[in-house]
Symmetry: C2
Subunit: 292 residues, 2 copies
């Protein structure tokens, strides 16, 4: 029996950077330090931050004399304006890749009729991006929503940085029929693309696959959907405790992958839990060159 | 038993226009009138043109004192130059939609690094289009060929006017992964898109479907492939004589469609042949609102 951890699984550069910025800010500042929304969609890491007295807030009402960290997902220009009006110090931990997408939306809004933003409308990155579109952004979450869009001579389309590439391609395909000139910006970050690719490859060569991460993590959910399409025997786990020995029965190759907000610890705990369920020899590799 | 002719099947505007231009030219000119290549990919219509003394030529060597008609597919700028050098009168019957695509390629070639042209490399329209690209055009015929293309920051993609929309979408999808900014020009003409859609709808609601047209007609071949994907019981026929009673055995709904170069006569003959094979009551409709 083998346990294979997907290459490119776990914390991405943007999330690691935001966590580092948060810790540095806490060390430098004596006053209150908040993150606007959870810095990372992972309950264990959020508990760690709480212990460091970095609290997550969702509401800016009544806030004063504090430092507010903008998380890696970024925020809309309204939020920056509001914080500035309130004289609150901003520490911007927006992922540099997301920052680039915000700038792209800002530039496109100047001369395009319509900007299609493929993503989850409740996701903070999307809420931020739409704020840069000057009312020209339309959020599309799935292929079905394309049906209600009108024909246009020209429009632009881009994606949330952690979007499922397959879904993005499907939505682009559906829009081609409705658009004479469609400018497609593949803004899905390289890290997301390689993570999705590694998870797809792993899903096609194992008997069972665990996707570790927070249920509220958009990109981890996407990994789950991608794997599930290939391997129905895919399980989303928020903690290693959810791995039950009966799930592993008969499995010869067991895969584990995690999203951009899944800390290494979560993966390690899942590996340990699987090992504890067996008394055989293990072989663990980091690459995904396995073949059925 | 029903015979259902696909809505939007048969001769398109560009081909009808080219045929009209050819007849008018013949009436006006006393001298030799040639078409550069077959005016239409249909053997019966070519025979008609021959009878009118409008001959098809493929080679310009030794040609002088004649009128040459550029067919609806268009031609490359080299051809126009060569004809002008030879003092040969040109009558340009290039389909206005193809003309627009040629202009687009010309404009794109000025500032784009690379222009992907989706089409059949041996098709006259593609041979014409590539001539306008100043060496920046790359012909892509299928998804597989995308694999050998490098990653690029920016490229444009467009299609032969009679391209299979599904294939175009597939190639665009494959290119998204390799291109940061992909400018997609849906140059598949409306007539092709509606014809393909009607044929798809018809294929999904009949028991057998005949695609009538010349084997050398690119767009008719595409209709055949589109139908075959949905209904394996699809047959390409060049003439009604190819419809055999044994093919029709057990069929309750029989469909017929034809490409942009399929004359109405070919469709009518196919209908007559099917009717002759049966002694039952017929119901023929022009719409494709049938349901299984």
């Amino acid at each position: 029996m083998e346990i294979i951890v997907a290459k490119n699984s776990g914390l991405c550069y943007g999330v690691r950077r935001a966590l580092d910025i948060a810790s540095e800010t806490r060390q430098k500042k004596a006053g209150k330090v908040f993150t606007l929304g959870d810095l990372i969609h992972n309950p264990q890491v959020i508990a760690d931050l709480e212990r460091q007295k970095i609290h997550s807030i969702n509401d800016l009402d009544g806030l004063n004399k504090a430092t507010v960290i903008i998380r890696s997902h970024g925020a809309s220009p309204d939020i920056y304006r509001l914080l500035t009006q309130k004289n609150i110090e901003i520490v911007d931990a927006t992922c540099p890749i997301v920052k680039k997408i915000q700038k792209l939306v800002e530039v496109l809004a100047k001369d395009k009729e319509e900007i299609i933003i493929v993503g989850d409308k409740e996701h903070p990155e999307i809420k931020g991006l739409i704020g840069f579109s000057q009312g020209k952004g339309i959020i599309v979450e799935n292929e079905d929503q394309v049906k209600s869009l009108p024909n246009r001579k020209r429009r632009a389309i881009l994606a949330q940085s952690t979007q499922d590439l397959y879904l993005f391609e499907k939505i682009v395909s559906a829009l081609i029929e409705k658009t004479k000139e469609l400018n497609v910006y593949n803004t899905i970050c390289r890290s997301t693309q390689t993570r999705q690719k590694s998870t797809s490859e792993l899903a096609s060569c194992v008997d069972i696959l665990f996707i570790a991460g927070g249920k509220n993590s958009s990109n981890t959910n996407k990994l789950y959907q991608i794997s599930k399409r290939i391997l129905p025997n895919t399980h989303f786990i928020e903690s290693a405790a959810q791995i039950k020995p009966e799930m592993l029965k008969g499995a010869k190759k067991i895969g584990i992958s995690g999203g951009a907000s899944t800390p290494p610890r979560a993966i390690q705990e899942a590996v340990a839990k699987i090992k504890a369920s067996f008394k055989h020899q293990f072989h663990r590799e980091k690459t995904v060159q396995c073949q059925r």
